[in-house]
Subunit: 358 residues, 4 copies
Amino acid sequence: MANAMQPDDTPALRKLYADFKDQHLNPLWTQLGDLMPRHPRPKAVPHVWRWADLFPLAQASGDLVPVGRGGERRAIGLANPGLGGEAYVSPTLWCAIQYLGPKETAPEHRHSQNAFRFVVEGEGVWTVVNGDPVRMSRGDFLLTPGWNFHGHHNETDQPMAWIDGLDIPFSYQNDVGFFEFGSERVTDYATPRFSRSERLWCHPGLRPLSGLQNTVSSPIGAYRWEYTDRALTEQLLLEEEGQPATVEQGHAAIRYVNPTTGGDVMPTIRAEFHRLRQGAETAVRREVGSSVFQVFEGRGAVVMGGVTHKLEKGDIFVVPSWVAWSLQAETPFDLFRFSDAPIIERLNFDRTLVEGGD
Amino acid sequence: MANAMQPDDTPALRKLYADFKDQHLNPLWTQLGDLMPRHPRPKAVPHVWRWADLFPLAQASGDLVPVGRGGERRAIGLANPGLGGEAYVSPTLWCAIQYLGPKETAPEHRHSQNAFRFVVEGEGVWTVVNGDPVRMSRGDFLLTPGWNFHGHHNETDQPMAWIDGLDIPFSYQNDVGFFEFGSERVTDYATPRFSRSERLWCHPGLRPLSGLQNTVSSPIGAYRWEYTDRALTEQLLLEEEGQPATVEQGHAAIRYVNPTTGGDVMPTIRAEFHRLRQGAETAVRREVGSSVFQVFEGRGAVVMGGVTHKLEKGDIFVVPSWVAWSLQAETPFDLFRFSDAPIIERLNFDRTLVEGGD
Amino acid sequence: MANAMQPDDTPALRKLYADFKDQHLNPLWTQLGDLMPRHPRPKAVPHVWRWADLFPLAQASGDLVPVGRGGERRAIGLANPGLGGEAYVSPTLWCAIQYLGPKETAPEHRHSQNAFRFVVEGEGVWTVVNGDPVRMSRGDFLLTPGWNFHGHHNETDQPMAWIDGLDIPFSYQNDVGFFEFGSERVTDYATPRFSRSERLWCHPGLRPLSGLQNTVSSPIGAYRWEYTDRALTEQLLLEEEGQPATVEQGHAAIRYVNPTTGGDVMPTIRAEFHRLRQGAETAVRREVGSSVFQVFEGRGAVVMGGVTHKLEKGDIFVVPSWVAWSLQAETPFDLFRFSDAPIIERLNFDRTLVEGGD
Amino acid sequence: MANAMQPDDTPALRKLYADFKDQHLNPLWTQLGDLMPRHPRPKAVPHVWRWADLFPLAQASGDLVPVGRGGERRAIGLANPGLGGEAYVSPTLWCAIQYLGPKETAPEHRHSQNAFRFVVEGEGVWTVVNGDPVRMSRGDFLLTPGWNFHGHHNETDQPMAWIDGLDIPFSYQNDVGFFEFGSERVTDYATPRFSRSERLWCHPGLRPLSGLQNTVSSPIGAYRWEYTDRALTEQLLLEEEGQPATVEQGHAAIRYVNPTTGGDVMPTIRAEFHRLRQGAETAVRREVGSSVFQVFEGRGAVVMGGVTHKLEKGDIFVVPSWVAWSLQAETPFDLFRFSDAPIIERLNFDRTLVEGGD
């Protein structure tokens, strides 16, 4: 379509185009259809990374690659096959498996990029966020919002791996990132069961009077699995009782939120947890913006752009913008999800198309 | 001061003033100092109601006064001595002790006035809010935001009493109230331990995807004592560890909030719970707007306008606008507080003066 | 209805009620229907004050009553006949005719009450708001938001009268007001055509980079008639061209807004200007909250609660809460309106019922 | 720095890195310093495009390239020399010179990308936005927010050129764009002096009651030069009178805003106009996010990253993120500016460093 009205290829036109190039100009009419397609046509592609592949490679890097100042983290980024080898799971999001060996410490630093961790298995690591030690255990969702110092240390004789999510591609692309090194060790090696942030903030519907100022990101350092699991369990029970509680039949879901606002945990990243009953299927949805899911428990499948991918515990997949997706649960099926939805919504680009449904 | 420039009292002036009256006019210059004082000069006065007085009168009314359609509630309003006998604890707020005998039911109705209940002692009553039965137990704070149907029933052989707080004076004064009768019985006599609202909403930092629309008032029907107590306990422990957590030395406090916004539970009423260590004293504060406190546990005193009032469990006191107040804890001292602060703040009339401090 | 379930009048009950009184208590069941009616049942009544009555009385007070420190203003408040003689046009609003004789000065003061002036006729007075002299002329709407020093002076040999609107009753009732005297003369006797506030802020869609902080009230000192008239004229022309522009057929209207937010000019007071074509009638509306209108030009009528009141230039009428009202235009008909709608809306008590339509 | 802790280059490591590649993985430790620099290190470079170069090339394209369905616009994008030839003036922004010959029509379409036009010289074209014809004249700033149909037509015998600004790179990069063709001609060839949007909305501080719903983007189609010029003139006059009005000494500036909110005109693009007195210099600023300026009138210079570029009327320059910049006015100096600041601020990445000052 973009070429429908292209001018004849004459010497004069070639001269014009050469002049454009000399003057650092580039005409719209030769590229409109690519630049401004009828609907999002992402270069990023739907893709599944298998935990069975990821974890052994993380282990191997644990043997070969030191962790310390400079490299900072033993983190292996998922590189979307459509994005030319860059460690971008989508144009906006970074997702990596991070691995910390027995007794290792990842040094402290801070950056304007927003970060979280999600733990699909294991325990024994504490992440220290602005001096507050936060235990990491299976099912926990842990926050390191922009410009908070953070480091990690493994207290045990066992290695531990988890996934990191950040807005690195977005920050890099738009030139918004700052970075600062901190301590080469973590500033507090205590190993409390609950972080100070949880002790102050994790009481439902209660806000400390010492924390009445709203914050850009959530003040909660760890969203514990125990609460997530209970919330989802209750939604399914309420559904059985005939009460409105779930997103759609057989599909419970919670969003992790900033208790000072009720909104997303960080300005650029949304995080959710989804639970499907055995046999449930979600409606087919298209959404502007990209999402990453990790299977936490159970077996099932995701259909992306018409292609079905079987899924097992730990598997990670990405749904690029406007790709139709739905989930199918072979067993009870638990999935963690994160996305760039706050970017999309705050800039008013959000659109959703639900193709099927109950 | 208002009289400094009053005109001479001449026949012409008397004629003018008579004409004003005939034409429904009233000049500013004769009343300025009263109408527009240098600082708030409330008619409402500081006052303490003793639980030892209130409860027996509530019991007596239980014997003499039926509860049912028409009267609707066996609620006895606290009438500020400065407000001419009206059942107003302050110009904006209503506070009553409500009493429900064994097996009694208070019928369902709804009104645009916002309401809550706080339970200083007892159990056995369920309040049914829009069909959702909510257990009432000691220390619980329970919501009935405007225009939600609600009724109460006592399942036991014991009477139960609690306090109600509403914005009735504000609604009456400003002509904003609507009222509608509902069922003469409650619509659901189930007695679940937790209401559906709690099962959906009381998971810290987690929001159901079925509840992403913000609501004017909190969707939580009951804020349980267990959580309030734990939050306050943690604040004092954190203080002992040298961490910022309390409002001031020895003074822990939480605000009950709407999880969809992080703001006040209802558009007109703020509710908080305060805990003082034994021996602690708060700073002396003056605030625009009026507050009501009820002692939940312990012994201490409130100083209002320079007068010290000893306090025991269940005692209720009102702090009118701009009256200097502070608390003193003889023992560990727990107090529930509610106020009209959302009215004051949303209309930008808020001012606070802290005269002393830690 | 409130009396349906009243207990028998026994000695025990009389004793109980006496005890209530002794203890500063007042039961709900004897007063429910009054306190919490089915819909707002204001004490304030619809009423019309005639400019033909008001202006001569203002003139007479100009002869008899000095203006100066203490009395502060020669302002005569409209006292709603339902409100017991208080100078309240409604439970929330004050409306007065203010009169300033030749060469007189009303001294500077400030108060937390929000104030405006509207000029139905005349010119020659400057109001000085925080040191910024603001010309007052026919059709202008002038702001003095809470806590801004302000005084007025008449530069001419002619007296001038205008109406003042404030939230005095609301502030008085809820004990939120502060007051401070300023200079006994105005601080700047300059008489510029446009105030500094207008020169900085009255450029449509343009915001000074020196004023990026949002303000609680509008920074504009004067909303000039020239702009109001033009806006309304354009709306009616657009309507003739078949374009959406008016509220309803033949009814143009603008709201005065705070350019930093697009919202109401002050936290407690809404102000609007309405223009009806000759022969136009508005739909019949009921609204929560009270409004005051002044006829600026033309002849017509208002129907309030089924009663028709003929209106001429300068006439002022009040519509109490939930009273059905509509306007009829005998000639082209211009009316200024102010109301307590921001109070009602910020506290989520707003409801509107449109009984008829266009 | 990123390489400080790189592992030894062993066969095992090479095997690991090859496995990473096979599995679409990419480790952080080899690229950290590039991906997450200490401060933004944009690929985009400061650059100046000369109007003396741009306009003749636009004219030449007018002779060689048709305008019509398919190519849609005769727009020539400024391609930042650091961005590999893409028509991106910065990572987020598109800036093009658009040229429309005598009597030509650019057909209607709509897209989710937000767009504006700014006219440095000429007149005679009307842009038709959702059916509302909007005159384009020197100094006017014209809006076409996302998803509004728009086309342009030249009524005269003279060609006209202007600049377009859009968020095409941002939309393309993040896969958020939708596009739809409309009429091949504009839907209304009327040539009114003022658009309907202006007639409804361009009255300072006045909001139509038919437009009380806030809109994501400004409803104003054209911000006229007459108003911009007057606002800047008044700021400099106020400065001369000793009043606060300018950004810094000798530097007046306005931001174009959405009158329904007081905020930016569109969710992704900020637009401002700056005026410097002859001889004035601005402070040296670093800001997160990228800006584009066009000289509207006068002569002066911009210093970017320590390099001084002389500027004349029509010259366009880009300031990439975190590049230090300041302006110097040889004559009275007027500049139009647009930027991606709303993206940066809504996602809380904003930082500003003012190195000097007034």
